[in-house]
Symmetry: C2
Subunit: 339 residues, 2 copies
DNA sequence: ATGAAAGCGCTAACAG
DNA sequence: CTGTTAGCGCTTTCAT
């Protein structure tokens, strides 16, 4: 008696299986499986199975399916900071297209720690997840392990040292637009606070700032600061800049949180924009300033998420073309008031 | 030949199994399993198994384990708005204690939609997840299904109509503290913008505001607005309030995002606090104001997450005591300047 | 302490 | 189109 009728008994109701449904519908388990997987089955049987399943309140067991198919309809999304709205917005994008396609997404917060990142990658393998979308904690992130399993991996926001599909922002261009906007508004000493030098997005944005200012400021290095991509670090950097013998009259913030930190400090000193120029590479989603007080180069985070998810789904479906990189451009929103 | 050595061959390396490890270590599969599950095994065999596993780069297959044990070491965290920092902060708390205990957490964004919420709950069952932590989209959220499976469920932030473990904020008290602080600072017409009336946190906070003002303002209803728990709704409500024949001189914001929306509108009109009083039930994590310009009653979101996770883990471990509710208090941070 | 063996619930050949 | 059957990789009695 290999598959006795289980039926609802005992605490925590026994799981009802495909066998229960099959016997109730008067068909074989295989047919039930087929109905739930969209393979051809005669209309009457489909109907019978559907009814039986409904009556028994049957939910297919994903673990069993995953074990058998050796692949779960789940994708891992690994990000360095779940508390950064940029990444949560991206997560929404991923989630939208993934769930549309019947995939769940597991959001993994690496907290910018290589070790946590590895742990999540391991879990992705252990759980037989179908693929991974990752914004790496560092360019040195190790992906050999997961790649060796044959799972598709898509890089978002940050490049990796692997030949992978990727979606990135046009970081240099965004920084140039932000900086130029400040120049045009009449600011003369434009500082820059960016993220950690070893993150490529940060390096590219810094380069953009430098390029936009080429030839106009001689002591450019003194006006450049590398912070973390977080509010606190930016505050410290901004304080430093203001304490300079010849302080700047404007600042370009390397990302949204840096923008927040910089503006906080400025506001505390009564230097509210446009008294002091501020341009942010990114959005200020929860700014309490008037939305038009600061220049922003909005980065299409959500779109980045949807694009990455689509690339990944294509790979999961078996697409084997060479790796693609999609570059997304930011959108300049000039502050309404200038100096 | 039931379990042939699989070994690394073909594209996307075959998964190495417990059998591969067993034969390489010269023990039985059961022993390998025991080693990975902490059951008693002689030191030499433990060593042999560990080495073999390392050499083969073995990762236990979670789907198989889940199927066999009928429970995955995964917990679902269902929240109504993944873009609200309050919930992401809470998620961090959950994640921290869960991963400490060897559990992964799957973050599910219901987007305040009952239907999405149900879908995620179904997935939790289908995936045999060990338990669920949920901030319901509505008090009418249906939990009978998941409860019938015997899985533990913990409610966070919002109460449910079920007899469950829960962690909530002291909402009424928080609103009273926020409002009183404004009264003490000398404001006279204190308005309130809260979340949807049918969410209990919103109702409780509104009640607190009303209570703190009892007897001091007669036309209290005209100063009360129900918005969504989001920035846009709050902006509209704030505009309305300012357009009143007898407009308020201060406002209590029912949550963080409402605070953001209200302050944005005020700032656009030159009514920066403290010219106009603002008190927020919640934090303004990314405020671009000086952090001391507005009164906040900080809600310990992260702590709520850690507490909920611990309650859930206890239930997963088999604890069967009656349902508990933990109430967390906010912390008042008075604005430094008054009217 | 260890091994043999029986499945967990589902899918995918393979027949028919 | 449908049923039979053999496992997916792991845990867990039950013996030894």
């Amino acid at each position: 008696m290999k598959h006795p009728g289980t039926g609802p008994i005992g605490r925590g109701r026994q799981m009802t299986t495909i066998y229960d449904v099959a016997s109730r519908a008067g068909v074989s388990p295989a047919t039930v499986s087929r109905v739930f997987n969209g393979t051809k089955v005669s209309p009457e049987k489909v109907e019978a199975v559907r009814r039986a399943a409904a009556e028994l309140d049957f939910t297919p067991n994903r673990a069993a399916r995953t074990l058998r198919r050796r692949s779960a309809e789940v994708i891992a999304l690994v990000i360095p900071d779940i508390e950064n709205p940029y990444f949560t917005e991206m997560a929404r994008g991923v989630e939208d297209v993934a769930s549309e396609a019947g995939y769940s997404v597991v959001l993994c917060n690496s907290d910018s720690q290589l070790e946590k990142e590895q742990t999540y990658l391991q879990i992705a393998v252990a759980e037989n997840m179908a693929g991974v979308i990752i914004a790496t904690a560092s360019p040195t992130t190790e992906l050999d392990g997961i790649l060796a399993t044959g799972r598709p991996v898509v890089a978002v926001d940050r490049a990796t040292r692997y030949d992978l599909d990727g979606v990135v922002m046009a970081n240099r261009e965004a920084a140039i637009a932000a900086t130029s906007s400040l120049v045009e508004a009449g600011y003369r000493r434009i500082a820059y606070i960016g993220g950690p030098e070893d993150i490529d997005t940060a390096a590219d944005r810094a380069a953009g700032w430098r390029e936009a200012l080429a030839g106009t400021q001689d002591d450019i290095e003194t006006l450049q600061r590398f912070s973390t991509y977080r509010v606190e670090g930016a505050r410290a950097a901004m304080e430093e800049l203001l304490a300079l013998p010849e302080p700047p009259d404007a600042v370009v913030a390397g990302n949204n949180l840096i923008g927040v930190g910089a503006i906080q400090v400025l506001t505390e000193r009564g230097l509210t924009p446009p008294a002091f120029g501020v341009a942010v590479v990114g959005s200020l989603p929860f700014t309490t300033l008037s939305p038009t007080a600061v220049t922003m180069v909005r980065l299409p985070a959500r779109h980045m998420g949807t694009t990455a998810a689509r690339l990944l789904l294509e790979r999961i479906a078996g697409d084997a073309q060479p790796a693609r990189t999609v570059v997304l451009r930011g959108e300049l929103h000039r502050a309404s008031a200038s100096r």
